[in-house]
Each structure stands twice: as C-alpha cells, then as structure tokens.
Symmetry: C5
C-alpha cells in the first residue's frame, strides 16, 4: 500500500503572497470534459458539452441541473463557470488547490462544499468540490472516473431523487463518497489480520515497516474523516434555506456513517499499535530464548573444555595420567559436571519453562 | 476469547451509492419469529404470530403492545411492519444494517433507538433496534435468544411495569441490556487476574498475545459503552412527550450504570497496559540475569582454558613442565584466577543482588 | 499494599433484568446498629436505637436529626427508614449496591449523595450514602467504624455546627471524608520514595510489580476523586433551597481540597510512570555493561586460547617447538595480543566510560 | 537543521518587577529603517524616511498608510511612533519583547496583532507586530528582509488591494506570513523521507539524533501555528468596525490555510514518532539476528572443541588413541555433532526464518 | 536540582474532621515581621510595625495601604488581622495551609488570591496570600525574602503605581511573581542542553536519573502555572468593582506571560521526553555494536580453536601429523577460515556499517 506522505503531487502548492482568488492554473491542462444531467420538469437530459455557455440555456427549464467537471487546471473553463454561476473568487481558488480539507462554506445564495473521494488502490484521496445553488449542483473532480455512477443511474431511472431538489442530490453525492470509504478501510482490516498472522507465525523484519505504512495511511484517512465529521455537523447546523429539513434528516444519516467510519478507523489504529507491541514482545521473548540456549551450551561445554585442557597439559609429574582409571575418571568427571550444570538449569526452570513457552507460542 | 476485529460477518455491508432506505435484504432469510406481549387494560396477552397483519388488531385494546422480531433479513416482514407502524425508510434501513452504534433518533411521533446486547462467550454484540410509539414498543433482534426474559417475566407477573407506559418498557429493556455487560466485564477481570498470576509465575510467550486479545475486546466494548453513554445523555435531554418525567428518573439510573461500566472498563484497560509493561520488564530482567550467568561462567572458565592450553604446548624448552611442583602450581594458578574472578564479581554485587532478585521475584 | 482490581467483594452485584428499586438484601445480614444524634433546639440528644420507629418521635423537636446506620444488607430496616423519610426506591437500591461512584441526585424535597470513605490500610473505599432533608441527615455506612468521630465530637461540644442547619452537617461529613484521603495518598508518596531509593541502590525484579500495584491503587483512587470533583461541582450548582448560600461557601472549600488531592494524585501517577522508565533504563544500562565485560574478556582470552592450541598441535615438523626461544616467544605473542586488544578497547572508550558510569550511578 | 531550544537570543528577556510598559530598549541599537507605502487617493507614494515626524504629514492624504519598521530596539523611535499613533504602553512593550506568541488584542480605536514569520533555513521565527488603525497599518519587524515583497508589488501595481481598506492590507500581510510556512514544512517532509530511506537501508546511530532535531523543530512550529489558529478565530469573532465583513471572508481563508498547516504538521509529528519506533524495531531485530549467529556458531563449535580436547588428553591408558579407526572416528563424531546441532537449529526454524527475514528486510 | 516530591515539609497538613476555619497554628512560631507601605494622599509612609493595632490608624489616611506579613504560623497575629480587616475564617485557614494552589475567591467586599512564588535554587514554591480590599492590600508570605523589591522601589520612587488604586498594586505583585518563573525555567533549559550534550558525548547511567529529576520538577511547576492560568482567567471574568477595567488590561498581560511560561514549560517537557528516547536509542545502538564485536571475534576464533584442537589430539594414526606440509597446511587452513568468516561478515555489511555508525554518532 502506498505511503501517505509520499505524494509529491499533493503537496499544497501555495505561492506565498499571491493575491487571493488567483486560479492555480496549469497552462498545459486540456479543456476538461463537462457532463450535464438535468432533471425535474421535462424528463432527464444528459449530455457531454464542450462549450460552457450551453449551460446557460439548460438552467431555466429544469428543477435540478448537475454540471460535473472532470479537471480543475483549465483556467478559462473555471472562469467561465464562475461567471455563469456567480462563484466567489476565493471558492474558485479553493477548487484549484487540490489539498483542501473537507469543509463547507456559505457564500451569498450558495453553499460551497469540499469533499474528498477515496481512490481504489491508493491512499491519495481525490478532491471533489461542490457548489449547491437554488436549482443547480456544480461539481469539480480532479480526474475522470469516480464512485458516483450509482447516483447517475438512480437519476436516469427516475427514482425518488428525480422528484427532490438539488439539496437531495448533494446528499446523494456525499453519501456515495462517504460510503466509498468502507471498502477502503476493509482493505486495512485485511492487511492487519495478515500482519497479526505473520507476527504469530514468523515475525520477520518487514512487519514494522508494513505496520508503519498502515499507520501512515490510516493517519491520512483519519484527518479526512474527522474533517468530514465537522462538515456534516456544520451542514446540520446550516440555517440556509438551500437545505430542506427533510434533506437534513438524510444528512444526519451521512453523519452517522462518518461516525461509524471513524470508530472503525480508530479501532484499526489501536490494533496496529497493539500489533507493534506484540511484535516487539515477540522479539524480546525470542532474544531471551536465544540467550538461554547460548548460555546453557556455553555453561555446560566450557568447563568440560577446561577439564580436557588440564589433562592435556604436558607436565612430567601428573600422577593421574599414569593410572589405569585416569581416563574413565576424567570422562566421568566431565559427565558429572555436565549433568550438574543441567540439573542446576533445570532447577532454575530454564528447561521446563522453555518447553512451556514453545507451546505457549504455538497456541 | 474471540478477537474483536475478526468478525467478518460484522463488517459494515454498505454498498456505496445505493438509494437511502434500501433494505439490506437477505433473499435466503426465513420469515422471522414474531412475539407479541400486550398488557395494560384487559390483562396480559402473549402470542407468537406468523401474520404481521394480526398486530393491527391488537394495537387498539392495550396500553402497551410489545412486538419483538427475531431476525432482520426478511424484507417483506420489515416492509409490512414499516407500513403498520409508519416507520421511516432510513430507520428501517438501519434496522437491517447490523453494525449500527447505539444511538437515539427522533422521527415524527416516535423514537428510534439502537442498542447493542452482549453475547455470552463472544465479543460480538447483537444489535437491538427499538421503536417507541404512543402505545407500542417494537424491537428487532438479530437472532433468537436474548437477555430480556426477566423483563418478560415481570410483565407476565403483572408488576409495576404493567401499570406504566411504553416508555417504562423501553427503560426496562435498556436497563436489562446495559446490566448484561457487567458479567461480561467480570470475565475480563478474571482473565487479567489469571494473566497477572502467569506473568509472576511463568511469563511465557503467550502472555502478550492474550493481552492483545483482551485489549482488542475491551476496545470494542469501549466504543459500544461510550455510545450508550451518549444515548442516555440524549434520552435525558429528549423533550418528546413520549418519555414521561418519571421514566427519565429511571433512565438516569441507566446512565449511572453505564458510567460504572465505563469506569470498570477503563480500569481494565489501564490494567492490561500495566500488565504488558510488567511482562516486558520481567523479560528485560530475565535477560539481564541470563547474561550475568553467561558472563560469570565465561569469564571464569575461559582464562582457565588458556592456562591449560599454555601448559599443553609442545615446546621442547618449557622448564616448568619438568618440575615436580609444576602440575600443582598450574592447578593452583587456575584456582587463584577463578577465585579472583569470583571475588571481583562478588564485589560488583553480581551475586548478592542476584540472590536478592530471586527472592524479590518470588515475593 | 492491596491490589485495586482484586476485591471480589466489590464487584458490582447487578442482576440484569431485576425490577428497579429491588433492595440488594442479604438474608444473613443482622439488624444494623443505628445511632441518632439530634441537636439544635433542646440540646444534644445521642442514642443507639433498635426500633426504627423511635426516630419518628425525635424528628419534630430538633433542628437537625442525624441518623447513622452501620450496615446496608438488612432489608426490613431499609424499608422502614424509606417509609419514615419517604425515600425513592431507586435511591434505596443505590444504598444497597456498594459499588456506586460518588454522585449527587435530587429527589423531591431531598438530596441523595453518595460518597466513598477511604479505609486505613486498604485500597477499598467504603460507600457512605447521605440523605439530606429539611431537618435531618440520614447516613448509611457499610460497616461500623469511620472517620467521622471528630464531627460527632464537635456536635457534642456544641460548636458552631450546633447552630447551623443539616446542610452544614452534610458539609462537615463530606469535609471529613475528603480530608481522610490525604493520609492515604501520603502512604503512596512514601512508597514511591522507597521505590526510587531501591531503583537507585538495587533495582531488583520486585520493582515493576510494586510499581504496578501502586499504579493500580492510584487508578482506583483517581476514579473516586474525579467523581468527588463532579459531586462538588454539582452541589455548587445545586439550586435546591436545602443548601444555604453560606454552606456553599464551605462546600467550595471541599471542592478546593478535592482539587489538591487530584493534583497530588496526578503527580504520584506521573512519578510512578517516571520510575518505571528509570528502572527500565537502569536494566538497559546494566545489560550494556554486562555485555561489555563479557565481550572484553572473550575478545582477549579466546585468541590466546587459539595461540596455545596452535603450539599444542602434534605435527612432527614444527620448527618453533624446538627452539630455545619458542616458549618465551609464544608467551610474548600472547601478551602482545592481550595488550593490543586492551589498547583497542581503551581507545574505543569502553573502560574510561565504564568507570564514569559507575560514578554516575552512585551520585 | 537548527535546534528549537538552542536559540539563546530568543529566551524571553523579562526582568521581573519592572513597571509595565517599560521598553526593552537596547542602547546599542541603531535607528531602524522605516519604509512607508501610502496608497488610496492620490496614487501610491513609497519612501524610506529617517524622521519619524514625517509620517504625520502623510496620514491625512491617503486611504491607507503602511509604515514598516525594521527593528525594535531603538527606544526613541518606538516612543515617537507611540506618540504619533497613540499606542498603548503595554502594546509597545510587547513589540520590543521578541518572544510573543501570535495573538490579537483590542485597544481603543485600534487592533494590535502579533504574528511570527518563518525564517528560511532556521527554526527561529521572526516576530512581526501589526497595529491596525482607521487609516494606517503599522508593522514592526525584528530585522530587515521578509516575505512581504509580493504584497508590496501588488500595491505598486495598483491591484485590488489599492481599492480596499487597511483591514485588507492586514489580511494580505497575514496571508503572506501564514503561507510562508508551507515551504518550511515541506523541508521537514523531505527530511523525514530521507530518514525513512536511511532507516530502511542503513539505520545508523545518527538517526535518533536527526529525528529528535526534527521533532524539536516541529514542536516549536506547532506552538506558533496553534497560536495562529487562535488568532484567526479571535479575528473572526472580532466585532470591531475596523474589520469589514468582506475582509472577514478573506480571513476565514487564512484560518483555513492554518488548519491545513496544522494538519500537515501533525502528520509530520506522527510520522517522526513512527520512524523512531521503526528504527528501534530495526535495532531490536538486528540484535536478535546477531545473537542467533553467535549462538549457532558457539553451539556448533564449542562441543567440537571439547571432543578435540578429550582426545588431546595425555592419559597413558586411552585405548581409542591406539586404534587405526580412532582418528576417523573422532572426526566423524565431530561431524555428527555439528550436523546434529545444525539440524536442531533448522528444525527450530532459525535458518529458514533468517533467510526470510533477510528478504523481508530488503523488500 | 531538588526533587519535587521530596518536600516533606510541603505535604498538606490537613487534620480530617477539624472544624473549618481552624488556624494551622504553630505554637513555636515567633511573632512575624509586619511591613507596611501606605501611599496615595500624604506621600509614602513605610514602617515595620510590631503591634498589629497600629494598622487601624494608617488605613483612613491613604489611598492604598499595603500590609505584608512574613510568616503565617503565629495565630494571635492572624486573628488580630482577621479582626481588623474582617477576613473570613475559611480564607484565614487557607493562609495557614501552605499547600494551596493559586486561586482567587470572592468574599464580601474583598478578593482573596493565593499565588505561589518560585524560590531561587529550589523546586519548592512559596505561598503568597493576597487580600484585596477597597483601600488596602494584605499579603502573607511563608518566610522573609521575596521577589517583590522592585515593586517596593517603584512605590518609593512614586511612579505610576502611586497614583493607581490597590487593584493596580495587586497586579504589580502578581506580575512580579509570574515573571520570577522565567529565570527558573531558564535553568531547566540549560540543564536539558547539558543533558543533550552528555547523551551525545558520553551517555552514562546518571542521565535517566537527571532526566527524571527534571521531569518531576517541571511537573510540579506545570501544576502551579496551570493554576495561575485559571487564576488570571477568573480575575479577567471577575465582575467585582474592586478591579477597574484599566487594571484588567494589565492583568491580561499577566495572563499572556503565563501562557508563554506554559508554552516554554511544555516544550521543556517534550524535550526531556525526547532526550530519554534518545538515551535509550543510544544504549540500544551501543548494545548492538558490542554484540557485533563479540560475535565477530567469537565466530572467527572459536573455529580456529577447534582446528588447533584436532591436530593436538594424540591418536597414533594421524597421517597429516607426520607430513612436512602438515603444519603449514594447518596454519593455512586457519587463515582461510578466518578470512572466509571476515569476508562473510563484510558481505553482510557488519564492518562497513559499523564504521558508518561510528561516524554518524560523532556528527
């Protein structure tokens, strides 16, 4: 899994001292694809448009017009949209700076919401900026491809969403985005289960690195999810008439999902901390066992070595050497020393407990 | 004891982008057993029903009708009940998603409460969803079997509960559920006492794994109990007329029990952290002792080995070898070196303190 | 010192599903001794009574009647008292459940206060339940024997307390109970000073166990003292006419003492954490030193052993063996190797710093 | 990178007991350069002035007069400015004490704001004191050189800033100062990436020192950024008419940037803690591996040494020595012992896992 | 530096059950020196008085009378002062109990403030109790000698303080007391710098003890400073007419200084935690290095020992022994084994990295 802090691309590109409202334009950025879904009133109209001005014609005839822009680097498009919908320069600037935290801001006659969408297989989240107006929803994504197709299908099928206002569409989008975090966290649950298994069976040196990677990733998600929590709290307190009481009931459900995500994430974090402790305990225990093996072997054989060395000395006058019983006596002495040492260690519980620990470890 | 994070079955089954109010129906789920207890007015009526529609007939004639459903996967039953009692689709959706946190939500004319019931012998808690209406209580459980029989018996015996309203029944149910956590936490108190004993007598490699399991379990219970705390705080602030002032007095008692559970749980958590420190200190101390034994043995015998080696060399001109006193001198030299080393170690306190530590450990 | 988590007797004895207000009666409990002190008006009357009904006669004639009951297991006595003073069943139930946290609850015309009194020589605290009414104070203790005799003596001597109302008596009792924690915490200050001394002089294996016991005990007291803090905050905010503004001034003093106790306790906790770190640092340092001794000895003598071994080989053609200077050469070579190794270690600072550390440790 | 706690120069120079409003004058301080930018009305006037009194003439004719002073030690200049703008002695005292935390204080008719500007290549931040009056902004810096040139250029170019009031200038200055922290934190992101790489490839003894330095630096920035957060919260709540509602919208953007900086910084702090754990795990694992190598070698060769020693003894009666098969038998015995030990270790998984770990570490 | 928890003298001397308002009188305490400074009106009058009653005469003629008492154990003096100024018994009791936390309490017509003054060269702080009345300030100190002389001199010189009321004097005293903590914390900054230097150059066993002492001391100061923070917050919210709005502006400055002290202290605490981690990392790294040296030596020389042992065996039939090339072959074999082992270790990077680490450590 990727590392949260690596994403060079995601470093806030703030140029200190720039006038506010400066668009973070990327001269090489192509004109972004714009997708419009208009519904309520004369059925559902769906089209890809290339000229931003065409949106003006669509706005009057529909209860809700959802304009989705897949790309934020093309300054002329942003400026044109800002002109059509009357967007505040500060909000437009935030659309272009892709490191915003989820938040909600109220501007005259509209709400500006920043959300972040998880990317499958990456710890990077994609910024989604939403503008909620009286009869439109304007969304900006960093790249094409998202987790919002189920919402589009519900509109195309003409479900309940089609008889609700733009605030309900915003709810549906935020709900889809928040729920997309569940499978992401599930991947970490799986990874931590694998890690726990590995620590129990073969605690190798890769474990702390993998745990560190998981922790860094979870840390990144934690910040996003807590910001989502604040976002939904703020939306629930929002007194703007743009959000109907009924939609607030639905947003409370989103808030609830966010709380469950945070619960899940916090328990993953606790678990990864616990696994590192487990790994280190395991190393500590193995070191103890290794040292006990070394100590037992050394303590038994080094004295034997000395005894053999003594009878290997070349003194002329060593009476034992010339006795018939000398050799058996020396071997017996060695055996006695070895057995004595063994008995000493067994009395200290070094063997009994060693066996216990072997069993304990396997259970 | 089970591991909190293992329960695959409990992973939130949220399909991102689904329209809200979608029931998490399980096509293979059987029709759930429905148990009705109606009391207040014409005595106590108790029956198992198979046709949901029969409930309609029971509602008018009793002060309180308690409908208990043991299973949440059978969509037609849920829809029928939703129809009879006028349940909000979002609440019904939550009934089916079995990973809700304890919470209370107000809908028009009714309160929706989610509680979680401990399971004997498992760290998994079972979701219990309660709807409190003007003259009924509707409960959903995941599986048959619960800790609510004492409440049923009190109704059958016609106690105080029979002269109170449905809010008192909700209190009685929540009280029974909360109190069911006391024996669960007692099991962990026992396990931690066993662990402390094991750390003192034989700190084997299974200790950190067992501590990790206890911590994970406690972590899971902690989230549930803190959510219960919020639930009772919210109920205490609830201004709905569905809950009488007198019942609030009783709910304050539930809140109090939750606080005591949280106190108990936090001290178990502190204790398990302390036990891991104890275990690691114990390993660290044992390693020190092992290394001291190894060092004493090696330091005493390796020099002897060198002395024996010197007099085992085969030089032609080694005058000592031919002296009568050579052999005793060599042995004496060895003895002197060994005793000198021993004296050095004793002066450094390696033996005295070793004995002390052995005693200290046994106390 | 005892362990907080061991007290089997103190485990909350909650039977899930029991109707609220059920007295935790112990059939084998004897009739508890009841002590009455009535003052204000016609002097001080003090008597041990055996018939609860006698209290009814005492109530009208005195400004304050203090009824103290030493035992909570005798159901008939509790019921009779509940009848005389009009106690709420939930409050009476709490009197009998001896694991309550300090708290204050308002019932009609009376305040119910739960406090916990330290026991000399034990970490277990004794529950004291107080009812404050218009002209009486009713206290329940678990066992005879308490820290309230100074209060009794002040009443007998007819001090200021005799001209004040029952709220002042409650203050005097709570003050005596809170102040009884100071000597208890002093014992832990002493124990931690002894532990610090032991860690500096001989850090044996009992240290972490003793620290763990201190921490567990402090943890238990911490929960009690924080609950006391909340109790006094609640009393200070209490708008009941049962507590006069003047008495609130005195209760503010109790609150202040509780804050000082908490300060003291938190610094004891910090200190015990610091001492464990100190102990582990000390072990780590000793291990380093031990390993250095072993390494120095092994590194100096093992090469000598090899040299001696070489000249102990039995090859026919080993010219050195037959030279007159062979033996001195071999000894000289050994000496050179040993000195070289020593010089190498000295240059790495293994000896110099070792001596420094010995001094450092002694200072 | 520098160490936060080293800056002797930055120690608060508070002389206890001095009367308040005492200027922290430095007798050796030169007259500071004063730079004036006046705009709004008759175009932009920019000049370096040496006589403070000249400012009086500039004030009436312009919508905004920005007076910037590069130095705070020259008491006469401060006093003269205090006289011209009617500054409160306590505020002037704070200007001279260069260890203020970012804060905002309201005085009659003016706001006093303290900010801190990062220094390229140093952990020391430079204090910038701002006074916002009805038609002027007065700024004090410690030294010449700052990150405010882009703001000056925007004024010179006559941008939006020229048609706004002095509150907008304060916003522009604070925005430039806050944004200057982004590149500073980026340097730490880079350093932590280098550290992670070093821990994976060669975890040398410098790693903890470098991590400690990073942590100390981040700690210093953390305090500054949290104080900035409080500053912007206070400015947002400020009800003074000196700040227009429109400027508050812009200040909310500054607040947002501060939140992002804090997010970034907290994740850097988490990361550095994680890296220390990683380093220590790595050391622990290496120690285990080293000890296993030592144990395997010692356990295989020490017994061989004993066998060789036995057949090197000089007893007269050692029958094996005289057999033709004696020597091959001894060698075979040694081989058998060595292979047996190896098999034992392989069965315990010491080799298999060793190889695994080598791979694991490299991945 | 002293240890915070040692001060036996400072243990709260609370006798449980004593009536409130009991003076903690010390029968052996001498009559304390009383110093009076009266100013405002007829110039400054300064005198040491021995008869408390003389104060009565001074009170009417001056705007401010500052009575300073150096000692709190002499009960008659306290009682007489309590009589003259109408002090509440609870406040007088607190004056005598020298373990109060900084706090402010309002009594009828007066404010009672407890502050704590640092002692040069000790971690013990001295309690200073202040009573602020309409035209007097009454201060009690534990011992003669304080940090308030600059305030006295400002009065004697007839500065601004002489034209302000008693609330300004209280501010001046509190300001002098708070600022006296800056040099105290500076001493710990120095000690931590010395510790960091020692850890880098020679991490001896005294380091953790010194760090523990610093931490304990900082912990003690932390509690005092946080209580000061609460004190100034409470003073700022105080609605008593005893404190003028202008003085509140000055007290805000004190609050600010307290925040800076807390910032400083928290960063010292973070730093001392970081230094302990650094020390332990350093020990861990040294242990690794030591073990590597031991392992390399043992692994190279033990096999050589075995080879020498083999050719030292006394078998009759060992053909090699009789060959001319036998001896050179054996030596060559040894050399080959030694070089092979060295090559193996070098390939594992044990030497290269060892040298790196030596350099790393020195940098």
């Amino acid at each position: 899994m990727g590392k949260a802090t690596k994403g060079k691309r995601r470093r806030p590109r703030v140029t200190p001292g720039m006038p506010p409202g400066t668009l973070a334009a990327d001269p090489s950025a192509p004109r972004p694809p714009i997708h419009v879904l208009a519904y309520g009133g004369d059925g559902v109209i769906e089209q890809e448009i290339d000229d931003v001005e065409k949106i003006r014609a669509l706005l009057p005839g529909h209860a809700v017009v959802w304009v989705n822009v897949d790309g934020v680097g093309h300054a002329p498009t942003l400026e044109a949209l800002g002109d059509i919908f009357g967007l505040h320069p500060l909000a437009l600037e935030d659309v272009g700076h892709l490191t915003q935290r989820p938040k909600v801001e109220e501007y005259e006659q509209k709400l500006f919401i920043v959300a972040r969408m998880p990317n499958p297989g990456s710890v990077e989240t994609e910024q989604v900026s939403l503008f909620l107006g009286r009869n439109y929803v304007l969304t900006f994504q960093e790249d094409p491809g998202d987790c919002l197709d189920p919402v589009r299908n519900r509109i195309r099928k003409g479900g309940r969403i089609c008889t609700s206002g733009p605030d309900y569409l915003v709810y549906a989008l935020l709900d889809a985005i928040v729920d997309a975090y569940f499978p992401v966290l599930d991947r970490y649950t799986d990874e931590l289960e694998r890690l726990e298994h590995d620590i129990l069976s073969r605690p190798d040196a890769a474990v702390p690195h993998r745990l560190h990677a998981v922790k860094s990733d979870l840390e990144a998600f934690r910040r996003v999810l807590w910001a989502f929590r604040d976002l939904f709290t703020a939306l629930g307190r929002e007194e703007s008439e743009l959000i109907s009481p009924n939609t607030k009931l639905f947003l409370r459900d989103c808030f609830d999902h966010t709380l469950r995500l945070i619960d899940l994430l916090e328990s993953l974090r606790e678990n990864s901390t616990g696994l590192l402790e487990l790994y280190l305990s395991s190393l500590s225990h193995k070191l103890n066992e290794t040292m006990r093996v070394l100590t037992v072997i050394a303590t038994i054989f080094i004295p034997l070595s000395v005894i053999a060395g003594i009878y290997g000395m070349n003194f002329d006058h060593m009476p034992e050497l010339h006795r018939v019983w000398g050799y058996p006596f020396a071997l017996g002495l060695m055996l006695a020393v070895a057995l004595g040492m063994l008995a000493y260690f067994r009395r200290r519980g070094w063997f009994g407990s060693s066996r216990d620990q072997g069993q304990g470890q396997g259970s």
